[in-house]
Every structure is written in structure tokens, then in C-alpha cells.
Symmetry: C2
Subunit: 332 residues, 2 copies
């Protein structure tokens, strides 16, 4: 069988970008065999020569400006893993308008520019896939798409930040205070030196905004989310929850209330008969409730280079196989 060549451009060779390049190399033969698609890293946007050198890619693939990639007809799919709002959002818009499919792991750029980005993808009839942006390797958006076809989604809630779940799980299992658990998370690399984005719930609010945008069929902005972090959670509250057979979790939730929707990120008591109470360590879990299917829970590793690269690679394959038909059609 003659494999169809699929040119991939990777924007940013940080931890995730490098893991994607490696996954394409390691999984390439299997993907060719299964799908008849030969993925090729056609270009990489990376200004750091050190990073570019470490990635073990042919020097001619390294670009230092986006224009080179936009005008390269050999690039079919662009993987955006720069992180942060800009220039990532602007780059994605330009790629879509240049006729490239876009795969991203960037929750911040997506949460803040969901409306423009999905409109640009629709206009250009290209795929805009973002499985890795929420719930890491969990097949959340394909599940969302599947459930949306036959249901009205009435509620989405879950644990979408692994760092805070690790901290709360440590507090519960070790009986430690917040500060001690945070220090342990930092020591293990689960929390950043400046943990604000995680512990104050900003990261969870970005992810919730994306999930709510899909559910409601309009751009839900992160600042519409009523957000409380976990810094005020005490060892006593955590112990009391455990005593009752449940757990305190940082729950992100979007719930319909008539025509309105309540959007919240907050430490919440989850009773023991709900699976979310038993999601420990740095795992994530999301519960989608549809009017026919009832509640569906999906759990797995929410971050890390391997699970994230797994989700990105699947999106690249889907974009190459079916193009814009892989897009999640919005709810309402």
C-alpha cells in the first residue's frame, strides 16, 4: 500500500513539542500500517538553537518565523504547543486561514479565543482539535462529540487540575497541612515554583471555559467562571470529609439552570458514592451528563509529556483522516 504523506509542523519544542516529535518517530510505522498515513515532521518553529539541536531533527526543518510554515504546501497539520495566550492564538488563526489543520494543547489561548478560533476553522473548513487541552490523555473530546450527537448535555463537572488534586489527596492520605502538601508537590515536579495558576484555580477555569463553550455553543470566557482556589482548605476540613467517607476536591462545574448556566471552580465536598471522590494523586476525572445517556465519568492522567503527546498524536491522525469532520460540533 502506498502511504499518504502527512506533513506536520510543530510550533515550540518544549517538553510537549519534543514528546510529540518523538511520538511521531516511535509510532510512525504503526500509524502507517493502521491508517496508510506516513506522518513526517516537516517543520518546527523554535528560536532556541539548543532546543532545536536536542530534538534530533534535520536542520532544514527548523524555522524561526511562522511565515515559512504558512507558505509551505507540505505542511498539512500544525501542532501548537507554545503555551500562553499570545502569540499562540494569533499563530493558530493564521495557520487555519492558510488552510492548515490545527491541533493544540493550549487551554489558555483556546479559552480566551474560542469564538474566533472555531469560526476561523469553520470558515476555512479545517480541523481545530484540542483533545490535549483538557484532561491530558483522557479521550474527553471524542467522548463529548459522541454524546453530543444523541444528547443534550445538562452538566459537566470534574477534577481538571492534577496539581491541586495531588495536593488535596496528600492532605487526605497523610493528614498534612496545605503548605506541606504543596511543598511535596513542588519537590516531585507536580507543582510549579510559582503555583498560582494551579492553586488559585485559573488553570481549572480555562479548562471549564472550554468545556462550557462546547456545551453551550457560544464562547464562554474564563472570567465568567466563579473561581475559588484551594489555598484556604484546612487539614481539618479534609480530615472531616474523609471521616464522612468522601473527599474535598477542586471541582469545576458547568450546570444548566433553566436558560442560564452556573460556572464554578471551588473546593467541594464529594460524597463517597461518587467516583470523583476516589480520584487520587495527580489524576483528572470529568463527568458528563446527557439527557439520554445519564452520567458518564472519564478518568486518567491529566498532564505529563506522554499522555499529552498521545492526545496530540491522535488528533493529528484524525485531522489527516477526516479533516473538518473531526471537529466537535457545538451543543446548544
Amino acid at each position: 500500500m502506498n502511504d499518504r504523506q502527512v506533513g506536520v509542523a510543530i510550533l515550540g519544542l518544549g517538553t510537549i513539542g519534543s514528546a510529540v516529535a518523538r511520538a511521531i518517530r516511535e509510532q510512525g510505522d504503526l500509524i502507517a500500517e493502521r491508517y496508510g498515513l506516513r506522518l513526517v515532521v516537516q517543520a518546527v518553529l523554535e528560536r532556541s538553537r539548543d532546543r532545536a539541536a536536542r530534538a534530533d531533527l534535520p536542520p532544514e526543518t527548523i524555522a524561526t518565523d511562522l511565515a515559512t510554515i504558512l507558505s509551505d504546501d507540505g505542511v498539512d497539520v500544525v501542532v501548537e504547543v507554545l503555551g500562553g495566550e499570545q502569540p499562540a492564538a494569533d499563530f493558530m488563526l493564521r495557520c487555519l486561514r492558510a488552510g492548515k489543520h490545527v491541533v493544540t494543547a493550549n487551554k489558555e489561548a483556546l479559552a480566551k479565543h474560542f469564538g474566533e478560533l472555531t469560526a476561523a476553522a469553520q470558515e476555512a473548513e479545517r480541523a481545530l482539535l484540542f483533545e490535549a487541552s483538557v484532561g491530558g490523555g483522557i479521550p474527553l473530546l471524542v467522548s463529548y462529540r459522541q454524546i453530543l450527537a444523541a444528547n443534550r448535555i445538562t452538566r459537566v463537572r470534574g477534577i481538571v487540575n492534577g496539581t491541586t488534586n495531588f495536593i488535596l489527596s496528600q492532605m487526605a492520605e497523610q493528614g498534612t497541612a496545605y503548605d506541606t502538601a504543596l511543598a511535596e508537590a513542588q519537590r516531585l515536579g507536580y507543582a510549579e515554583p510559582d503555583p498560582t495558576a494551579d492553586v488559585e484555580g485559573y488553570d481549572a477555569a480555562y479548562k471549564l471555559a472550554i468545556l462550557a463553550s462546547l456545551m453551550l455553543g457560544r464562547h464562554v470566557r474564563p472570567d465568567e467562571v466563579d473561581r475559588t482556589g484551594i489555598t484556604g482548605v484546612t487539614a481539618e476540613e479534609v480530615a472531616a470529609a474523609r471521616e464522612r467517607g468522601g473527599a474535598i476536591k477542586l471541582i469545576a462545574s458547568a450546570e444548566r439552570d433553566g436558560d442560564a448556566v452556573r460556572l464554578q471552580v471551588a473546593p467541594t465536598f464529594v460524597p463517597g458514592d461518587n467516583l470523583l471522590a476516589h480520584v487520587s494523586a495527580n489524576f483528572n476525572a470529568i463527568e458528563l451528563t446527557g439527557d439520554r445517556v445519564g452520567p458518564v465519568v472519564l478518568s486518567g492522567q491529566g498532564a505529563g509529556p506522554l499522555p499529552t503527546a498521545s492526545a496530540i498524536l491522535s488528533d493529528v491522525v484524525e485531522a489527516a483522516r477526516v479533516g473538518a469532520a473531526a471537529n466537535v460540533v457545538l451543543g446548544a
Copy 2:
């Protein structure tokens, strides 16, 4: 926008078939709006006049032999919900060969004829989708497909039979014996008057055979599964498991062991730190483990007319949207 008309034929108007007809009616406008597809129940195969009359469908759609449906160019997708091995398997083969996409909820026919059926679909370049056959409304196969694109799947295990999970959960929560819990399940309609297929693990073995076939890329037959039911599980064993913080569950598992695979359905102790221990009532949950993504757990209602119709309807939409590209490409 001009909606594209998609003709659906339903084989069998039992509980599930009627729920599918109803779901197409109720969800039709939403599907037209979201996907530009107008689903129409073009034909129904049902020999019982009573059932046909109750379904509230135009009399001219009721067929009493398959040939009418095979030769009807207006039928694009056939939904097979007859149940049982034959004539269901034969009908599906004939539909695929006649160029129809096939959507089925029939685990027995699929488990026993997986090889022929997938080969026929590939030959005819048609979709053969069976989301409803394992895990009811849980978006299991779309998740499987997504994970397979970027991973080698090393293990699949889970709770795939809701009846036995209800019985074991009752025994754990009420401290009752097996017979009492079975009687309660029968009273509530979760267990059949003759519960053999569920309690002896046949149903779980069919579903495991399907999951293992996808994982291994060859037809795994149900009789390759080492099968033990739950009739020998005592109240004492269930109480002891609970005492240890875990639970006894009927676990179906397919695990790679070098080049071989171990296939088992058996009552198994699940420790409390595994989500499967906390899946109660008649819910199902499946854990897929990929070499990149790690363990992913999916849980939800494994049976019932609404969740099953939800999965079938999603499959019909996918078949109509992307055809054979919706097929799960087999692992290896």
C-alpha cells in the same frame, strides 16, 4: 441549509429498536441543525404486527423480509437490534455486502462473527459500528479508537455486566446473600427470570471477546475466555472485601503477557485505590491502558433503552458523516 437525507432501517422493534425510532424522532431537529443530516426511518423489519403498530410509524415502512431493505436505495444505515446470534449475524453480512452501513448493539453476534463482519465492512468500504454492544452508552469505542492511534494497548479490564454488578453491590451494601440479591435484581428488572447469561459470565465473555479482538487485531472467540460466574460468591467474601476497603467485582480482563494474552472473566478482589472498586449499582466501567497514556477509566450506564439508543444514534450520525472512516482500526 439543505439537509442531506439519511435513510435508516431498523431490524427489530423490541425495547431498543423502539427507543431508537423514538430517539430519531425526538433528536431529529437537533441533528439536522448540528450536522445538516435529516435522519428518516425509511424501513423497519418487524414481523409482529402488534409491535409495528405500537411504534407509531407509517405502515409502508414496515417490512417483513430483509430483501426489501437490501434493495431499497433509500436505506443508507441499518440498525441491527434483533439480538442473538442468528439471523442477526447473517443479516448484518448481507446488509454490508449490499452497501449499507451497519450499526449494532448485538454483542453475541459480533463476538461470534467478528472476523467475517469486519472483513465484510472493509471489503464493502462501509461503516460497521457497535458502540452500544459493550458498555451501553459509555463512549468506549470512540475512546478506544482515539487511544489506539497513539498507543499500544497493553490491558483492557473492567465491569461490563450491569446485572452482576448490581447483585454484588447489593450484597456489599445490604450484607445479603447471593440469592436474596438476585431476587431483588429480578424484582427491579435488572436480571432476567433466567439469569444464566449474566450470572455465569457469558454476557461478559462476549463483550470481552469484542474488546480483545479490537486490541489484538484478530478475532478472539468467546470460548477463548476463561470464565467464572458469580453464583459461588458468598456474603462472607463480599463483607471481607469491604472490610479491607475494596470490593469483589466481576472483572473481565484481557492482558498481554509477552506475545500471548490472558483472557478472563471472574469475581475478583479490587482494592479501594482503584476506581473500579467504587462502581456501584448497575453501572459499568472499563479501564484501558495504553503505553503512552497510561490507565484511562470510563464509567456509565451499561444498559437500558435510553443509553443504548444514545450510543446507536451517535453511531448512525458518525456512519452518515464519515462512513468507513468511523471504523475502529484494529490494534496489534
